[in-house]
Symmetry: C2
Subunit: 319 residues, 2 copies
C-alpha cells in the first residue's frame, strides 16, 4: 500500500481517467471491481445524465468498491455537476481546469476526497495550497485537452514530486505495466490511464474510435488549437485541418471557427472519422487489442511485476 492506494481505499495504484464519451458507469464499475479506481467522465454529461450514471455505478458495485467522478471545472454548469455528486454521496472527485480551490471547503466539509489535474509545477503547488488531497500531473502526451506549456510526463512528474508534499499521480502516455513502473521510478505513487481504458469492451467510445486507436503508431497524434486551448487527437481529416491552421499561424478566431462545437461527441461517440475529434494520447501506438477492463487491470499489474523483475535482474547482474 502507498499513499494513493490508502487515499482511495483501492488495491492497485491505477486510476482509469474520466475520458469524455468513453467513461460511463460500465467502464467505471468494471475498473473499480477489478481493484483499480474507476472514474465516470462528467465532461460529456448533463447533470441528470451524470446522476443516472452515478446511480448505475453504485448499483453495479453494490457499495463495495470505491469509484469517483471527473468534473471539468470550466464547464458552465460545474456547480450543478458538483451538486449531483454531493447529493449522490460520491466520495472521490477529480477536478480539472479552472480553480482547484473553488469547491475545496465544501468537499472537506462533506468528507469528499478531491484530486486536481495539473500540467505544470506552479499549478501543482497552487492546487496543494488550495487544499486538494493529491494531484494528477498530466504530461503533454495525454489525449484531449492539455496544458499550454507542453511538458511531457518524463520531466513533469519528477519536478512536481519535488515541489509538493501531497501524493502525485502520473498521467500522459501510460498504457502498460512498463509505463506504470517508469512513473513510479520518477516518484509518482499512482498512474492515471486514459486512452488504454478507452479501448476496452466496456468503454462507450464508438467502435470506429477504438479501431482508430488500434491502428495508431508513434506519429499518429496531432497537438493543435494552441491559441484556444490545445488538444491532442488522432490524425484524421479534421486534425489535419487543425495542424494546417497551426502551421500557418491561424488566429484565435479562426481556430475557434474551425473547432466549432461537439467535436468530441462527433468523434469519440459517433465515430465520424472526417469531422470528429478523436481525442487520444501518444501511448495509442502501444495499444494492440480491445480487452475487457478487468482483464486489462490484471494485465497491467502482471506487466508491472514483469518490468520490476527485469529491472531487478539487471541491477543484480551489475553488482
Amino acid at each position: 500500500m502507498n499513499r494513493i492506494t490508502n487515499l482511495f481505499g483501492i488495491r492497485w495504484p491505477i486510476i482509469q481517467a474520466g475520458i469524455v464519451w468513453a467513461a460511463g458507469w460500465e467502464l467505471c464499475a468494471a475498473v473499480s471491481k477489478a481493484g483499480a479506481l474507476g472514474l465516470i467522465g462528467a465532461g460529456s454529461m448533463k447533470p441528470d445524465l451524470l446522476q443516472l450514471h452515478i446511480r448505475k455505478a453504485k448499483a453495479a458495485l453494490q457499495n463495495q468498491e470505491p469509484f469517483g467522478v471527473n468534473i471539468p471545472l470550466q464547464r458552465g454548469d460545474a456547480d450543478e455537476l458538483v451538486q449531483v455528486c454531493l447529493d449522490e454521496n460520491v466520495k472521490i472527485l477529480f477536478t480539472s481546469a479552472g480553480n482547484p480551490g473553488r469547491f475545496t471547503p465544501t468537499f472537506k466539509e462533506r468528507e469528499v476526497t478531491v484530486v486536481h489535474v495539473v500540467p505544470s509545477v506552479v499549478l501543482a503547488q497552487e492546487a496543494e495550497a488550495r487544499g486538494v488531497d493529491a494531484v494528477v500531473c498530466e504530461g503533454t502526451e495525454a489525449g484531449g485537452h492539455d496544458g499550454v506549456d507542453e511538458i511531457p510526463t518524463f520531466v513533469l512528474v519528477p519536478q512536481v514530486v519535488d515541489a509538493v508534499k501531497i501524493p502525485v499521480i502520473a498521467a500522459g502516455g501510460i498504457v502498460n505495466g512498463r509505463g506504470i513502473a517508469a512513473a513510479m521510478a520518477l516518484g509518482a505513487e499512482g498512474a492515471q490511464i486514459g486512452t488504454r481504458f478507452a479501448a476496452t469492451v466496456e468503454s462507450s467510445a464508438h467502435p470506429r474510435y477504438k479501431q482508430a486507436v488500434l491502428k495508431a503508431t508513434d506519429t499518429s497524434t496531432v497537438f493543435a488549437l494552441r491559441k484556444i486551448g490545445p488538444v491532442r487527437m488522432l490524425r484524421n481529416p479534421f486534425a489535419e485541418r487543425c495542424a494546417d491552421a497551426e502551421s500557418r499561424g491561424a488566429s484565435e478566431e479562426e481556430q475557434q471557427a474551425l473547432r466549432g462545437e461537439h467535436r468530441e461527441r462527433i468523434g469519440i461517440f459517433e465515430g465520424d472519422w472526417e469531422e470528429g475529434m478523436f481525442e487520444a494520447g501518444m501511448g495509442a501506438g502501444l495499444i494492440h487489442d480491445l480487452p475487457n477492463a478487468a482483464d486489462l487491470v490484471a494485465r497491467l499489474v502482471r506487466e508491472y511485476d514483469d518490468a520490476m523483475a527485469r529491472l531487478n535482474a539487471a541491477v543484480n547482474t551489475l553488482k
Copy 2:
C-alpha cells in the same frame, strides 16, 4: 552487465551526449574515467580541432577507458570528420541526422561500434536495417535539434524497444537516477544524458550558459523553428523571437533569416543571452548544481540505486 555496457566495455550504462560547444576532450575523458561513456561532440569542431580533442582525450585516458565521438551526418564535411576518427582509431561513433547507413560498411570493416540517434520508430527500424549496433532514441524533451514528430521519451522508448532487436539507449529529459531507472523500466538498456553533463565543471559551455541551466524551471524551454528543423532551447530573448515567429506561422525563409548563423556558438560557448541559442533539454528544471563529471556519474549511480530501493519497498508492501 547488460548489452549496452558490454557493447562499449563500460561499467555503468550511462552515456554523456556529445553536446555542441560543451563536450570537448575534458568532459569526455572525465566521464569515461568515471566508468560511463564520454563522447566528444564534433558538431562544433572542424576536422583539425576534432583531431586535437581526440588526441587529448586519448592522452588523458592513457588508452584505459573507452570513449567515443558524436558526428552529425548533415555536416558538409562529415566525411572528413569520420576520416579523422578512423585515422585516430576511435572505436565508438555516435551519428545523428542524415543516413545511418552512409558509413556503416566502413565502420564494420574497421571494427568501429556505431550508434545512430533516432526520434521515431520508423527511423529506428531503418537504422537497424542499415546495420548500426544500437540506437539512441531521443525524445522531444532533449535540448538542441529534435525530430519533427515531437515524440516524448516516455512513449518513444517503449515503442522503439518493441520495434527493434538491437539495444536501445534512451535520451531526452534524463538528468538523474530516477530518470535512468524510468528509462530502464520502459525497456532501454542505457541512458544518454546531455544538459546535465553540460552543467558540470569540465563542460566547455560558457558560465552564463551553466547559470541559465541552474535557473531553469519546468517551463523554461522553447521548441521552435519547426519549418527549418526544430530546436529546443532555453527561453531567452532570441528564443522568444523564435516562439513569436512560430506562433504567427512565419515562413521557412523567415525562420532561416531569424536563425542566422553560429547561434549555438554565440549562446553555449560565448554566453550571449540576448542573441545566442542556449540549447538545453526540458530536464534543466531538475538541475541545481555544477558538480564535476566524476562526482556526477557517482551520484547518478547512487540515485539509481535509491530509486530502485524505493520501488522495491513499494512493491513489497503491496504484497
